[in-house]
Subunit: 152 residues, 2 copies
């Protein structure tokens, strides 16, 4: 039950871009310096985020990366989905089949049902907390859950 490296570092990069504002893009070099990451690894991260449509790249001089949307409209859920599988995703049961081709509990599984509920619970939070909330330091989940409706 762990946060992966891509998720952790990817979120940090997104936050950096959110803080910067959408004016001037940030280069890979700048991002890598500010986050203490290597340049190739930073490039890899940004590439993943770009392919998910969360950031856009401008080449050449004065180029760099910036967000495709204002951080107020970017849910943490989208960011994590871009950087890895969800907590309990569609591949879970096919992945943990033990020694068999298909899980022993395939027909009826209490653990699966529990994870499904759990995933939905977590998703309802991450879908409503926006990158802008993070930038401002707002993560009172209970209040956010109350104030905002389920995301579309």
């Amino acid at each position: 039950m762990k946060i992966t490296a891509l998720e952790e570092y990817g979120l940090r990069c997104m936050l950096l871009l959110a803080d910067k504002g959408s004016g001037i893009p940030l280069t890979i070099t700048e991002i890598s310096t500010k986050e203490g990451l290597s340049i190739p690894y930073t490039g890899k991260l940004l590439m993943i985020l770009k392919q998910a449509g969360l950031v856009k790249a401008v080449r050449g001089r004065k180029g760099g990366y910036s967000l495709t949307r204002p951080p107020e409209e970017m849910a943490l859920r989208e960011i994590f989905d871009a950087l890895g599988e969800p907590f309990f995703g569609p591949h879970h049961c096919g992945r943990y089949t033990g020694d068999n081709d298909v899980c022993v509990h395939n027909e009826d599984c209490k653990v699966r049902d529990m994870w499904t509920t759990f995933e939905r619970f977590i998703g309802s939070i991450l879908g409503r907390v926006m990158l802008a909330d993070l930038a401002v330091g707002e993560y009172d989940f209970a209040r956010i859950l109350e104030a905002r409706s389920e995301p579309g």
Copy 2:
């Protein structure tokens, strides 16, 4: 953001022991057969659970594993803590330091604060859902959160 193999399989073994009742212990061989896992791997899992004090072992004939406490008193949280680190644990920041010895955001980190809140949120659920709830198919988290007080 993923569930580890140890957590998934370990939880299944615990559920199996909970269903069995605390009378006759289950052997590694029985557990491995019922869960579709190899015998050595099952042994490894049970050893971890034993060292955490969640199960006890009896050697020799008629031996095997059983729960140390009734499943009504065993929170999912304890089980996951035994099988791996918590979602956002004390080692997180020391682990994701990029190329430096200490994380660039060590002084003031919005991501860290967010994870802390998030971890507490998840913990408040997992601390109140018991293994017995799972066995019965009860995982209406909202209701459980409402009905039960914060665990000690």
